[in-house]
Amino acid sequence: MSEIRFRGVGKHYGDVEVITGFDLRIHDGEFMVLVGPSGCAKSTTLRMIAGLERITSGELLIAGKRANELLPAERNISMVFQSYALFPNMSVRENLSFGLRVRKTDSATVASEVDRVTGLLGLGDLLDRKPRQLSGGQAQRVALGRAMIRKPNAFLFDEPLSNLDAELRVQMRGEIIEMQRKLSTTTVYVTHDQVEAMTMGDRIAVMNKGCIMQLGSPTELYRRPANTFVAGFIGSPRMNLLEPGDLLGDCDPTVGIAHDRTGKLGIRPEHLLVESDDGAVPIGDARVTRIEDLGHEVLIHLRNARGTSLTARTGGRIAETVQSGQTVSLALRFDCLHSFETATGERLT
């Protein structure tokens, strides 16, 4: 049982309030992702779990026990840092075994645990190397190994893949997911990368300005964003968020969808149809300003007669027929629309 629970947790730096009344329950064995833009206090939240930041108010429970006053060492938590945070003067073997050694584990157990982790992560050939002799991927794997060796209450990851190149990031993403599934250890993963969030987490907490904007599964967040912040943050390219009147008057569907005319309209780029009348509601013409051909799909950037910028995502074939500067007809499906209250940004339908 290693549930992590925040109860009305607050964090202040002097007069600056970073987190207020934060409530979150991370279930035993769950992979929870905290995602949000820079400065949204996701790393601070993680560091509070680790005991590296003092909690100003409220209560943090780890494995059912109040952890506010516990030292980092007393929480039995493992953490992987963005910079890997390997000990530069120690070999890979010493880095891996550090946590066990400071806990006075006997040498035979240390050796067998190092063998187990190196086998699991394929670090066998690197044991005598120093961190400076490792590539980014190898260093990250050692950091993972150091976290895994102790069987902790929870794994904490603070943007661990940010320093890796795109290919290695995908590979390490897979390895972390696999490791977490295998060990079933409660995991809290902080990232600003929504692809990581969507592909890794059982649940995602989207954070902004120290608050959780929405908590749910990746699918829930994508299909039913609770507010304009989540709608704009989850999904790439971001959802088209339109004010009433941004589309051509007669066709403006916000009239029919929103409770009143103050509603904002959200259209995912893949639901904005270009040159298609396949049962969709026409919303006028727009000029193609730019085309991004990604091969398997095409992103079309448009501007309509009202000056509204829109992005559409379509299959790769359309790149052959549509060109920059061309005027195209737009349409959308009602059942894929999202509407939000203008004043609060909260979801209406």
Binding site: N89, V102, R146
Partner: protein, 292 residues
């Protein structure tokens, strides 16, 4: 591509040549001149005969010279060790403080801003056997007065104490900056892994600072081996030869006895000693660097 790099390399050589020439002139010429003079019996006047290695042979067979070398090394070893230990300890303690430390740093750094001869004068007054505040304080604790600079036994510890008071802040300020500049992540990782503050210091922080620490040792060692103002301003090398160090010995030989050739020979030998110690310390540093 290789051709281009080679071409740039040879152009670079011609660009730095004038600079190398000036450096050679200003660095090598005085050394060469000093060495040339050390082979003569020049008396700062008209007497200028080539005597070969006679000055060197004379010095190496002179017990006074070896006493001077011993005094210099004892002073340097003691002052450097205490300054490094004390300065580093202060830096570690100040680094732990969570309050603003600007004032503390300023106070600790004050002695460093005073010139050596002023430090010597101040300490001379404070350590005066009859008028000095130090003897007064010792007396207040029930101890008898000490002659400090006036006795062979206490003169050397006294000048070491003054140098420690004067220069510890140099070590302090460098090591404090280094401690504050250490990457936080490995330290936090060690905390999460369950390490105590003591373990973090010995196994994480100290190894990361080792290279800088040895550099500070080299700087302090060279500086203390070249001590002059503190000794000249307090004991003048006395009583007897109790605190005579290389610089004061050379000064006396050159200006009191007008034996410029012998003084130069002393400086050449002494410079070789400093060079050997520096190379040994640098070698140690390089070995640690390679081990890192």
């Amino acid at each position: 591509m290789t051709y281009e790099i080679k071409s740039i390399g040879s152009s670079a050589f011609w660009f730095i040549l004038p600079c190398l020439f000036v450096l050679a002139l200003t660095s090598l010429y005085p050394i060469a001149f000093g060495f040339a003079v050390s082979l003569t019996n020049w008396n700062w006047g008209v007497q200028l005969d080539f005597v070969g290695l006679a000055n060197y042979v004379g010095l190496l067979g002179d017990s006074e010279f070896w006493t001077v070398i011993k005094n210099t090394v004892v002073f340097a070893a003691a002052a450097t060790s205490i300054e490094i230990a004390l300065g580093f300890y202060l830096a570690v303690q100040v680094d732990k403080l969570s309050i603003p430390t600007d004032l503390i740093r300023a106070v600790i750094m004050l002695p460093l801003m005073i010139s050596g001869i002023v430090v010597a004068l101040m300490s001379k007054v404070m350590f005066d056997p009859f008028l000095g505040v130090v003897n007064y304080l010792i007396g207040a604790f029930g101890f008898g007065p000490s002659a400090f600079y006036g006795a062979a036994l206490t003169a050397m510890p006294s000048i070491i104490a003054v140098d420690v008071w004067w220069q510890t802040s140099f070590v302090f300020i460098i090591m404090l900056a280094a401690l504050r500049g250490l990457p936080k992540d490995p330290i936090e990782a060690a905390l999460v892994e369950g390490a105590s503050n003591f373990t973090i210091f010995w196994r994480i922080k100290l190894p990361m600072l080792r290279s800088l620490l040895i550099t500070v040792v080299v700087i302090r060692a060279i500086d203390t081996l070249k001590v002059f103002d503190i000794v000249f301003g307090t004991t003048g090398g006395g009583p007897g030869l109790a605190t005579e160090v290389a610089q004061t010995f050379v000064y006396r030989t050159a200006y009191s006895y007008q034996q410029i050739g012998k003084a130069m020979a002393t400086m050449i030998l002494f410079s070789l000693l400093i060079l050997a110690i520096s190379l040994a310390l640098q070698g140690l540093r390089q070995r640690w660097e390679a081990d890192k």
